[in-house]
Amino acid sequence: MFLASPGALYLLIFFVIPLGLITVYSFATRTSTGRTSLSGWNVESYEAIGDEIILGIIGRSAWLATLTTVLCVAVGYPFAYYIATRPRHVRAVLLVLVMIPFWTNALVRVFAIRFLLGSNGPASALSESLGLGTFRILFTPTAVTIGMVYSFLTFMVLPLYVALERMDWSLTEAARDLYASGAKAFWKVTLPLTRSGIVAGCVLVFVPSFGSYVVPDILGGAKTLLIGSYIARQFRDARNWPLGAALSVLLIVAMLVAVALNQRSGSGAEDGGRPRGRKRRPGQGEAEPVTAVAS
């Protein structure tokens, strides 16, 4: 194979080869000692995914990812709308503020959230001073959800901002002029015309949150087992590499489907019919093999 550029070499070493290895391992056999035997191909690992416990984990992960995505839209849309409707110089400042936490290591940020939500943290202190007792939220699904929304919000805000910034506001004025209330003008004009930003943001948030394992592990105390943590466990503790690999392949395929759907909807007549060339770089928030591969 002729390598045209260093980029191709990079992709080969860090994406194609690991992906190939994972695919190969997913068809391998786990010996009784926990080793992986490459002789004797089978689909047993894929059949094992049908197990009730694993399906439950997948379902829970999908639910958490969906919840995170919906909350990110709910928080991110008003936020992006606010930024996009400020004067130009204010917009630049606000965007930098959005980006700053993003430049901090993801792990550090999640530990910061853990401190904030912990029983010795400020949230708890406030709750105690109000006479509401100790604030017990850490290591609950609520804490995990808060952490996930915080971690992935930037992925939602940026594409939404891009879509809203391109919005032709004379269209909402036209809607108001044609007897639409402010809310109606938003539903009938602004929202449909920023749809591609919403779809892009949803994919960018859903994909990494589905496979996320750093946030649930640190904030959920590993009590709520999710697919990302479960895969990590197969490679580390359970020493069932074929099952971990099979689950990874499944996750990658699911995410590729999501990305493909996004690209199809993005090529439609949205965004005021204006063509948009957007470049996505998802999966940078967490140093995690599964999402990195999926991106």
Partner: protein, 355 residues
């Protein structure tokens, strides 16, 4: 006292954006059924005035009534007016039909009235067969018709048009001028349109309001505005003119800067400084010495000759003043640079601007 109610009545309206006064204490009444133009250079406040009538901007102070009803602070969806936007602002994610239906649907108009009115509007702007297209599949002229239909289908009491022909090329613009006039006569709705193109304003409207730096300088018929400008700005902005400094001698005569006394009507008191506006096409140019039959004349020398095909424009130096003369339909080039000539005009041609 059965004076008809004005379609739009603006009283002492001022609009400030931070420190900038966009519209400065404007009073204006637009009659029912009138085709009215707000004319002025960019940044003169004409678009802001229109936007305040539409409700897209709210006045800082003053009163704004539409058919007697105070609407100054009402939101745009509570006003009986519709707007044709400058770049049309058609909804790109909707078809032509959906665009036109929008206002009716917002007001919960149901079938069969809905489809009947939409069909009428589509027929009126000759867009039958285009109903299912999207705006980006239409030409500029067609988009403009959709914008017109989208506004008119609501049967507004006043139609506002913001530079409606600005985005069209010259030929199409002239066609649309005729079409808009015909359309206005047909529907009988008051049209208020904003333009920076003085020819367009003269050609289309029954009355013109000239604005500059937020102030409304003069309101009148195209003929009044052109022939009896009330200020230097209006005289200079509408068409071309010669502005000659002068002093009032008596109620019927003024003395030009070069000492020549001409007859011209003015109400300004004797001794006050005025300007005399002389339109180039109202002035004749003759060889020096040929009998001058007209009311007033100046001797001068041809400084420049510009041949335009349908007209010849002379720049004649008469003492300290430079007079532009435009001879329409002249055959040949009777005068050359340096020729000694006399320029003359009839009494009625000179308009005195008391300012």
């Amino acid at each position: 006292m059965t004076e008809p109610v004005a379609a739009v009545e603006i009283e002492g309206v001022t609009k400030r954006f931070d420190d900038v006064v966009a519209v400065d204490n404007v009073d204006l009444a637009i009659d029912d059924g009138e085709f009215f133009a707000l004319l002025g250079p960019s940044g003169c406040g004409k678009t802001t005035t229109l936007r305040m009538i539409a409700g897209l901007d709210l006045p800082t102070q003053g009163s704004l009534r539409i058919f007697g009803e105070e609407v100054g602070m009402a939101p745009p969806d509570r006003r009986p007016v519709n707007t044709v936007f400058q770049a049309y602002a058609l909804f790109p994610h909707m078809t032509v039909r959906q665009n036109i239906e929008f206002g009716l649907r917002m007001r919960r108009v149901k079938d069969p009235e809905l489809s009947q009115r939409v069909a009428e509007a589509i027929g009126m702007v000759r867009l039958a067969g285009m109903e299912e297209r999207r705006p980006d599949q239409l030409s500029g002229g067609q988009q403009q018709r959709v914008a017109l239909a989208r506004a008119l289908v609501n049967q507004p009491k006043v139609l506002l048009l913001d530079e409606p022909l600005g985005a069209l090329d010259l030929k199409l613009r002239q066609e649309m001028q005729q079409e808009l006039k015909a359309l206005q006569r047909e529907v009988g709705i008051t049209f208020v349109f904003v333009t920076h193109d003085q020819e367009e304003a003269l050609a289309m409207s029954e009355r013109i309001g000239v604005m500059s730096e937020g102030r409304l300088l003069q309101v009148g018929s195209p003929r009044e505005i052109y022939e009896r400008p009330s200020s230097r700005f209006v005289a200079d902005f509408i068409g071309r003119t010669n502005l000659i400094e002068a002093t009032v001698e008596s109620s019927g005569t003024v003395r030009l800067a070069n000492g020549v006394v001409i007859e011209a009507e003015t109400s300004a008191p004797a001794g006050s400084d005025v300007a005399v506006s002389l339109r180039p096409e109202r002035i004749r140019v003759q060889s020096r010495g040929a009998g001058v039959s007209a009311g007033a004349s100046l001797d001068g020398e041809v400084g420049d000759v510009t041949y335009l095909g349908h007209a010849v424009v002379y720049a004649v130096t008469a003492g300290p003043t430079l007079v532009e003369v435009r001879n329409e339909g002249e055959v040949g080039e009777p005068f050359a640079v340096g020729d000694e000539v006399t320029v003359s005009w009839d009494h009625g041609a000179a308009a005195v601007i008391a300012e």
